[in-house]
């Protein structure tokens, strides 16, 4: 970074600090390269200074509206403790996804060990044993995911 540039950065920061501290800045103190920037800081400071606090009436209205929203979102009936309610949604979704993959894997292993894999895709009634097992496993996994989401949203 150019040395002059650094000086200008420091000067503008100093002008800003002084304006915020309520001091007046004499135009002669500001280097020509910073004149426009200093004027803008002054305008922005002026604008920020006219900012005010919300009225008591508005605050009351807003608090009431937010309490309604809070109840609508079902927070009031939410369990105040417990692992599920403290977990962020993305983490829960990841856990649920891992659970589904793990269950499907386990079912495959069991089916393989019991020698049923060869029946996969073979004509074995409308659904083969392994296929039924997989579907049942996935249904259980989906049930668990559903339950987690239900508890989470309650």
């Amino acid at each position: 970074m150019n040395h002059d540039q650094v000086d200008l950065d420091m000067e503008l920061a100093d002008i800003t600090d002084r304006l915020l501290a309520g001091q007046d800045i004499d135009a002669a103190e500001v280097s020509p390269e910073n004149e426009t920037a200093a004027a803008l800081v002054r305008s922005l400071h002026q604008m920020a200074r006219t900012a005010s606090t919300p009225s008591a009436a508005y605050r009351t209205r807003l608090t009431q509206r937010l309490q309604e929203e809070w109840n609508t979102q079902g927070y009031s009936s939410r369990r105040k403790s417990g692992v599920l309610s403290t977990f962020p949604v993305r983490r829960l979704a990841s856990i649920a996804a891992i659970l589904v993959v793990a269950l499907v894997g386990i079912i495959f292993v069991i089916a393989y060990q019991s020698g049923n894999v060869s029946t996969l895709g073979a004509a074995h009634g409308p659904l083969g044993d392994t296929t039924s097992l997989i579907i049942a496993g996935m249904a259980i996994a989906l049930g668990i995911v559903g339950l987690v989401i239900y508890i989470r949203r309650r």
């Binding site: 540039q5 950065d9 803008l40 604008m47 920020a48 006219t50 900012a51 927070y75 009936s77």
Partner: protein
């Protein structure tokens, strides 16, 4: 420390503790209000602030405790302000309405006041149209009045880098606004 405190309150709020949420709301209402007021016409500030806190409740579960609570909250503030300008662009004949809105809000609308309001509107628009990191640095210093050192600590940057960013942000506003102010 206050920031940790915010995160603890946010966690409690996520667990359904309404008082924790209200504490955060009371803590940030003035800051959010002033941030919004410095960026949109006065007549719409209250509606937008309400939308921001409603959005905060609705997305409370997405706060993941990794970031500071105020960083997360100000992201919502920025999103709502951007939405506000997007909707406004779609539905309203911009400049004329902005001026009328502000005039309606001004009881004593002298020529001076009007010029002042035009200037402020131009500034608000420019501030809302520069890149977000520029907006943040200006708002942190001039609206929240955080010292440069504290901003540097919060952003994990050197104080020199923050001061340089501040000046670049001001120059960016000047580029948007020209010589209107």
């Amino acid at each position: 420390m206050r920031v940790d405190d915010d995160v603890q309150l946010a966690i409690l709020a996520q667990q359904g503790d309404r008082e924790a949420f209200l504490t955060l709301y009371n803590r940030y209402l003035n800051k959010v209000y002033n941030r919004v007021k410095s960026r949109i016409p006065v007549s719409d500030v209250e509606d937008v602030v309400q939308e921001i806190f409603i959005a905060t409740i609705r997305s409370l579960q997405s706060f993941e405790h990794r970031s500071q609570f105020n960083t997360w909250l100000y992201t919502i503030v920025n999103r709502q302000i951007a939405d506000y300008y997007r909707k406004r662009q779609r539905t309203i004949n911009d400049d004329l309405t902005v001026t009328l809105d502000d005039i309606e809000n001004s009881v004593a609308s002298s020529q001076n006041t009007r010029e002042n309001m035009d200037e402020q509107m131009a500034l608000k628009r420019a501030l809302s149209s520069i890149p977000e990191h520029y907006q943040q640095i200006i708002l942190l210093r001039l609206v929240d009045q955080l010292p440069f050192a504290e901003i540097a600590a919060q952003r994990g940057q050197s104080i020199e880098a923050v001061k340089s960013l501040f000046r670049r942000a001001i120059v960016a506003i000047h580029e948007k606004i020209g010589d209107k102010v």
